[in-house]
Symmetry: C2
Subunit: 237 residues, 2 copies
DNA sequence: ACTCTCTCTTGATATTTATCAAGCAATTGG
DNA sequence: CCAATTGCTTGATAAATATCAAGAGAGAGT
């Protein structure tokens, strides 16, 4: 692991209250690995042997049932994942694969669980993270149940813009096919929905989105803080 | 609060590791209230002032957006709710209302947060509960994204049967209209889906479901442990 | 017993979303 | 440079789901 990557990991809310020596212990037990794109890191149903921390690149969480597959989240640095599975000592409910070349810190589950049981500050930080992760998932589920497809896309674009400092242009965090799955639509319908958003000030150039008329898009999307506001400080799944 | 209700609350996994005196402190600060059916307990967007514990009756968690409303969960005793909002010191993402006459213990959020910060065992128990709640929600979201409506219903019936000790008959936990919203369908389509399940050994008599041919229903539903298995010990939302 | 109300069901229709089938553009590999 | 592949788009069609409109049945109140 590169020295310059260290601060980002150390500064995760997850490790906020833990002592330096405890943190050192966790990191020294960890593996640090590079992966090319499209590498399957986790197979759903497997036991959760590591807490993964994405240091660079991007990772997709996805899930399958009866021949279908859908995307559950796109993860960007610096962010931990399968925290809940590690703590529950349970099998993973989601699979994970790299989308781009990625570097990951993998902390053995046993170490996480031991520190969790022994270190009050760590337990508090984990509970705080999990409560935010839970709330984020509630928001996702509300969106899925309460919005039609094109509105989901419109609000997703607004959230992306917000996460890029309200930039009027930004690049999609994954292939359109992956974005489509994330938004519970087919690639065909994503394409058509992008077309429909043209009338509301959105322009697409390959992987880059231009929001030419933010007000028009907002008027169409009707964003709702109880769905669209991010959980501040959330960096775990 | 009735003396006979105490053990069920005390035995919640949430309080498993807390000392008796701490538990007494929490309970003595709490309100205990009866509510008739259809009473709004929580409005989404309001701050989370209490951790609610349902002692008797049933409560629906639901959410609204842009004139639509959907059901997020049906809660039965003994179970705590809005734990995540209380810990995050944030507004509620879901509303709550009683479905039947209900009795609830309401523990002020401040007390929960103080004990959480001070009592390691409580923090550990909360994190453990939240990780299970998170995983339960992942399962719900997977189901919503990966299964068509009638299959969702079929698996829901199998889960209800399992929770009733694999009983071949049981009563639905809420009005069909609420069940429909929970399964992301209209009442009309729920009705038609029940009709479709007739061919797979399901018989409906008002609010009671008979599973006459469990094997046929299972063959149709194709249950998946990574969606349908309950998180054991989960009693919080 | 009798409305009245409410919930659920059923049928007809509309809308939304998915699937299938080309086709096009960009990229990759020879 | 030229296939060949890949990712996306577009159009036509099919399937799933929602909406609208009655109507039937059960329970509540008079």
């Amino acid at each position: 692991m590169r020295a310059q990557d260290m601060p980002a990991v150390r500064n995760l809310p997850l490790f906020a209250g833990v002592q330096d020596d405890s943190f050192e212990e966790l990191v020294s037990a960890a593996l640090f690995q590079h992966f090319p794109p499209q590498v399957r890191l986790i197979h759903e149903g497997d036991s959760a042997d590591f807490l993964y921390i994405l240091v660079e690149g991007s990772v997709e969480l996805f899930a399958c049932n009866d021949g279908r597959e859908t995307s559950m989240a796109i993860i960007e640095p610096t962010s931990a994942f399968i925290l809940a599975a590690v703590l529950s000592d349970a099998v993973c409910l989601m699979s994970a694969r790299t989308l781009t070349p990625s570097r990951l810190l993998m902390i053995p589950a046993e170490h996480i669980k031991r520190h969790f049981a022994e270190d009050k500050m760590f337990a508090v930080a984990i509970a705080t993270e999990l409560s935010k992760a839970y709330r984020q998932l509630v928001k996702m589920h509300k969106e899925a149940k309460l919005r039609p497809a094109t509105e989901r896309l419109a609000n997703y674009l607004l959230r992306l813009a917000a996460s890029h400092g309200e930039a009027s242009s930004f690049t999609l965090p994954a292939d359109k096919r992956t974005i489509a799955a994330l938004l519970s639509m087919t690639p065909e319908n994503l394409s058509r929905s992008f077309g429909a958003l043209n009338a509301h000030g959105v322009r697409i150039q390959g992987p880059v989105v231009h929001i030419d008329k933010p007000d028009a898009l907002i008027a169409f999307a009707k964003p709702n803080p109880l769905i669209d506001d991010p959980e501040i400080g959330l960096s775990s799944r």
